[in-house]
């Protein structure tokens, strides 16, 4: 090959791509390319390029394989015995692969030259629809009507008489008992709201707040606890007098 090829690896999608371009440069049918020349050219390109190793694995594997292939092709046939597949068959496989890639590349090019919809030719920008959807109707389905009736009746039969939830309202007596039990065990000032019972719905919680406040006031009057509030709307704090 007299041509001096100045090819750079980054222009190619992998070793097969480069091989195909090198084969093309021989300007013959891919089936009749000179594999030996191809191998030399490929190895020359690889040798010239400073390939980053982490990206180069594929390129180097191909280079090693081609070097092996070349050595086999140059050896007299009788010296190459016991190989699983002879070099000629491998050459044939390589040419086949190159031909297949070449065919698909031409197909891509052919497609590329077609008038592309949206680039070269355009469809109607605002297509019209001749169908209107009428959703005003309703599926009149007699079995469904009867099922609905049966279901409603059955639900009514199964229905238990309505019984409102019993509310459990915290009483002042309960709040006093709770405060008495707890306040002595706690050091220093405690926020009164710590002595609320847990849980309950909003109504029950409000009742508990009221009962606990009254309990606190009641006990303060009896001299059992002290109450204080540092600011209007601030937290009310309590401490046991026995402790204080």
């Amino acid at each position: 090959m007299s041509e001096t090829l100045t090819l750079h690896l980054e222009g190619f999608d992998g070793p097969l791509d480069l091989l195909l371009e090198l084969a093309r440069s021989q300007k013959v049918d891919i089936a009749r390319i000179s594999i030996l020349a191809l191998v030399d050219q490929y190895l020359a390109v690889i040798a010239r390029e400073e390939v980053r190793l982490e990206l180069a694995a594929d390129w180097l594997v191909m280079a090693a394989w081609l070097a092996w292939l070349k050595s086999r092709l140059l050896l007299p046939p009788e010296e190459v015995v016991g190989e699983e597949e002879d070099a000629e068959a491998q050459v044939a496989r390589l040419t086949e692969r190159l031909a297949a890639l070449e065919a698909m590349r031409r197909a891509a090019l052919w497609l590329n030259r077609r008038p592309w919809l949206g680039n070269d030719v355009f469809a109607r920008g605002a297509p019209e629809s001749f169908s209107t959807i009428d959703r005003s109707g309703v599926i009149a389905d007699l079995p469904a009507l009867l099922q609905a009736y049966v279901a409603a009746r059955r639900r009514a039969q199964a229905r238990r008489p309505y019984r409102p939830n019993q509310r459990r309202l915290w009483t002042v007596q309960e709040a006093i008992a709770r405060l008495q039990a707890m306040v002595g065990k706690l050091p220093s000032w405690q926020v009164l709201s710590r002595f609320l019972p847990e849980g309950g719905d909003p109504v029950e919680r409000r009742a508990a707040v009221a009962a606990t406040l009254i309990a606190g006031l009641e006990m303060a009057r009896g001299g059992m606890v002290e109450l204080r509030q540092d600011a209007a709307w601030g937290p009310i704090e309590v401490r046991g007098l026995a402790n204080g």
Partner: protein, 179 residues
């Protein structure tokens, strides 16, 4: 002129929105008379299956009105009645005339205004006077349209309540999922 006409034709065809005369002027060959081009294009399509029209400050192609009517297909996509409405309708059918309160009592759950309104809008139920009790609640009954829709000749074509009510023979088909 002929080239300008081709460009104008392609532009109006391919554009998603009506093409203004200004936009068109920008694409036509130097020195084209936009109004003349539009007129020529309109003349070319006059009386054809597609016509040129001016809409919202721009030019569009539009199916000739006589054909649009002819080609339009109405696709009926009937809805399924929501479960609550279907149950209310069934209860009205069997207990008419009845009040909303009675429907709620039978269903054991409140009936939304929209369920009743949907049935009214579809013409399946109609008011049948008022019950002379406190509050004078409206009474509801089914309409001839109800019979027609459900392919019933008369109300008595509905299976008897007793036939449905006995749980042994009640159909155990799954209810429509609420939509």
């Amino acid at each position: 002129m002929d080239e300008a006409l081709r460009i104008a034709e392609a532009l109006v065809f391919a554009s998603e929105k009506p093409v203004t005369r200004d936009q068109m002027a920008g694409l036509l060959p130097e020195g084209s008379d936009v109004d003349a081009v539009v007129d020529a294009l309109a003349a070319r399509y006059a009386g054809r299956g597609v016509e040129l029209a001016e809409v919202g400050g721009g030019i569009v192609f539009r199916t000739a009105p006589d054909l649009a009517a002819r080609l339009t297909k109405v696709i009926e996509a009937p809805r399924r009645l929501p479960r609550a409405a279907m149950e209310a309708l069934a209860i009205i059918a069997y207990h008419q005339p009845c009040t909303r309160g009675e429907i709620e009592e039978i269903r054991g759950t409140p009936l939304s205004q929209s369920s009743l309104e949907a049935l009214l809008e579809l013409g399946l139920i109609a008011p049948r006077g008022r019950r002379e009790t406190p509050g004078r609640p409206a009474l509801w009954g089914t309409t001839p349209a109800f019979l027609e829709k459900f392919a019933l000749r008369q109300l008595s074509d509905l299976p008897k309540r007793e036939e449905l009510a006995s749980t042994e023979t009640a159909p155990t088909l799954p209810l429509n999922a609420p939509s």
